[in-house]
Symmetry: C2
Subunit: 425 residues, 2 copies
């Protein structure tokens, strides 16, 4: 039985939080700066229409935590956020989606300046601001649009603004991702809400570019961090779109405590309830991120059971949904079992090849295409019907133990190439 | 100074070897068998026009060795070939490109039967035959077309037939790959020749589906194996098209000894000369494999210097040329340095991020786009001109030590998706 319920809303669903997002024109300003630097040609900076600056805040200081990309090349926003979270508290998040502020000589100062702009507007300490960025790498972050954007945002922060914030963190995403979930802890209704962005450059290991989570639960920053790690491990860490890991990945959470439950400070039953709801939400987001992968037409779920252990199951599930050949075959609705077996075989996990079964499953049915490591003759028409659905589960059943895992990916399409062949222009 | 010279020819260039390739219709027969099994509908088997069966042989027993895919899921042809090479000798190679003979319950018997068909036709021992296959996985190998194909091949084995053999091992390759190189060892002219196939499913770790090498050098099977491993380490093991590792990768070599040099049985100066020529040839093949990657329009060379050590340089070079985002950007001639930095950062190698320089180089010039880990403003027009060439070198200069490496890849294009969206039909 589930102990949580999904509901409408996003980062402003929990008590205490307001937010909004505006079009500040960060991307246009970056592009103009590039042109200027390269050609000494002054261009007018015009906001490009899409919202690209979000501000999320709470009316009190929250306990907070965040986890980040493992890429050695990191946006300076990450170093700044990590420093600001050393005391386990935060009150606001400022984030732009026009420029990654990564690989720039002045990145650290700019990230601090972004935090200060938000802090001054909200009349809070800059140390209590979480900063994040996403967009083009290696080009100076223009602060002017952020300054004017923050000035505009300060006056429109509201409960309703949460959905604009979700929109403002999108880059190549085609749909905005926001969610809210409720559970009961210590007799009190606890709400958790979040927004996420991510379409390309999504890979195993914090496989999301940016995600911000709010809750009114009372919970310590240490337990928030633990919960993020545990929930991400079976969700964000099991998503891959293209095998690339971003420089900017940030998953941050703020807890206002307004729900009034006894503060969670250890891994007790209350923590388990909080984690259960958070994990369910993160898994739902993981599927949304994969389904909205750049150019994707299909969500692929790699579902492994019977592996030697959970680690082996994860390794195999990830290997299958990461395979370019599997992804292209799913785009073409081609029930090729060889590609699945091949990806299982090179995953690095220990497997008894003679005990591998493979089946495809979707709303149109299920078909077994491989048994005991050998390809089966099967009804090609039925297989094609199954693979023409929007959500395909690749079931891999092993005979090695009781390890289980799910990984989330998408098909590889012409549009992925198109989107990424000319990203900057 | 190089101690070798490239020349025309392939597997029949060295003394003692003849070969040929025919259209046996293995793929058509496999397809007909699928249709039959799935729908009980008898279809006529018609050879599909392309050569798909090759036979290479020597007029005397050779010393021989082979190295294979590290995929746990292996074609049974690999187990048979490994067994046949236990005594370090072989006299012929039989290979088909219509069916991988992998993941089939009767794969081992069929692979042995293939060897026996070749052996009987050549009047040699089946234990002296190397067997290989490539093509669709998980479908029974039809022996009838191989039997009639071998009967046809036996009468047309010749020096001129080598190029037909190169053609017969192609699958989605657009150009056949054959090469020959000469060197002088112990005062004698030694020739080494080879053919290779590989277009998709090419990845680091014996990144070639099939490659067969012949030589008239006198060299022990142990030294042949060492030379294969050493030469592959900087060539086949540094190529990636799509990150997928095949079930059938086989790199085999036969040495007739006709050159008359004192047999190489240890890693002496003669071995070094042999290895130098072999390595040069393998590197040339690696570039050809990458340039002919499925759907590729460009060869990408990732060239790393200044890494902590050679291993770190290899890891970084491979990470860069394997990145889907880098590959798509190169297709679009987009001089995005962020994607390169990103791929360096997640490679897993230890790197001082503040000392990374990145430049693009081609026949049209060279342009520095990143210095000391920070993006530079650069001339976009010049950069585009450089990236519109057919061979692009991505120069990554680190400040961590003296490790160097090169890796070979290709761009990611619409056609890759097209080719792999519907491979079987």
């Amino acid at each position: 039985m589930n102990h949580y319920t999904f509901m409408n809303g996003g980062v402003t669903a929990p008590q205490g939080f307001t937010a909004n997002g505006v079009c500040a024109g960060v991307k246009a300003a970056t592009a103009a700066a590039i042109t200027k630097a390269a050609k000494a040609n002054e261009s007018a900076v015009i906001p490009n229409g899409k919202r690209d600056l979000a501000l999320i805040t709470c009316d009190r200081v929250c306990s907070a935590a965040a986890i980040f990309t493992k890429n050695l090349v990191k946006s300076d926003t990450i170093y700044v956020t990590r420093k600001h979270l050393q005391n386990g508290r935060a009150q606001a998040v400022i984030v732009n989606s026009g420029n990654a502020n990564a690989c720039n000589p002045d990145g650290y100062e700019k990230a601090e300046a972004m935090a200060k702009l938000a802090a001054d507007a909200l009349n809070i300490s800059a140390d209590d601001v979480i900063v994040a960025s996403t967009g083009v790498i290696g080009q100076p972050l223009p602060l002017a649009p952020i300054e004017s954007g923050v000035a505009a945002l300060k006056d429109i922060l509201s409960k309703e603004g949460g959905t604009n914030a979700a929109e403002a963190i999108m880059t190549t995403d085609t749909v905005k991702k926001e969610w809210a979930v409720q559970t009961v802890i210590d007799g009190k209704t606890v709400t958790i809400g979040g927004i996420a962005k991510g379409s390309g450059m999504i890979h195993i290991n914090m496989g999301t570019t940016l995600s911000f989570v709010t809750t009114d639960a009372a919970i310590s920053s240490d337990m928030l961090r633990e919960a993020l790690l545990e929930a991400a491990d079976v969700s964000y860490n099991m998503v891959s779109v293209d095998g690339d890991t971003s420089t900017n990945d940030t998953l941050a959470i703020l807890a206002s405590g307004y729900a009034g439950n006894a503060q969670i400070t250890e891994k007790n039953a209350d923590y388990a309830l909080f984690l259960e709801a958070l994990t369910a939400a993160f898994k739902a987001v993981a599927k949304k991120l994969a389904a909205d992968g750049e150019g994707a037409t299909k969500l692929l779920i790699g579902k492994v059971s019977g592996a030697k252990d959970e680690q082996a199951a994860k390794t195999i599930a990830k290997s299958v949904i990461c395979s370019s050949l599997v992804k292209a075959a799913m785009f073409g609705a081609d029930a090729n079992c060889g590609r699945i077996l091949c990806a299982v075989g090179y995953s690095g996990a220990e497997v008894d090849v003679s005990k591998i079964d493979v089946a495809y499953q979707s709303a149109a049915g299920e078909i077994l295409v491989c048994q005991n490591g050998c390809g089966l003759a099967f009804d090609e028409e039925k297989a094609e019907k199954i693979l023409l659905e929007k959500e395909i589960t690749i079931l891999i059943t092993l005979g090695d133990g009781s390890g289980q895992a799910e990984a989330y990916g998408c098909d590889l399409t012409y549009d992925y190439v198109k989107i990424n062949g000319d990203y900057r222009t």
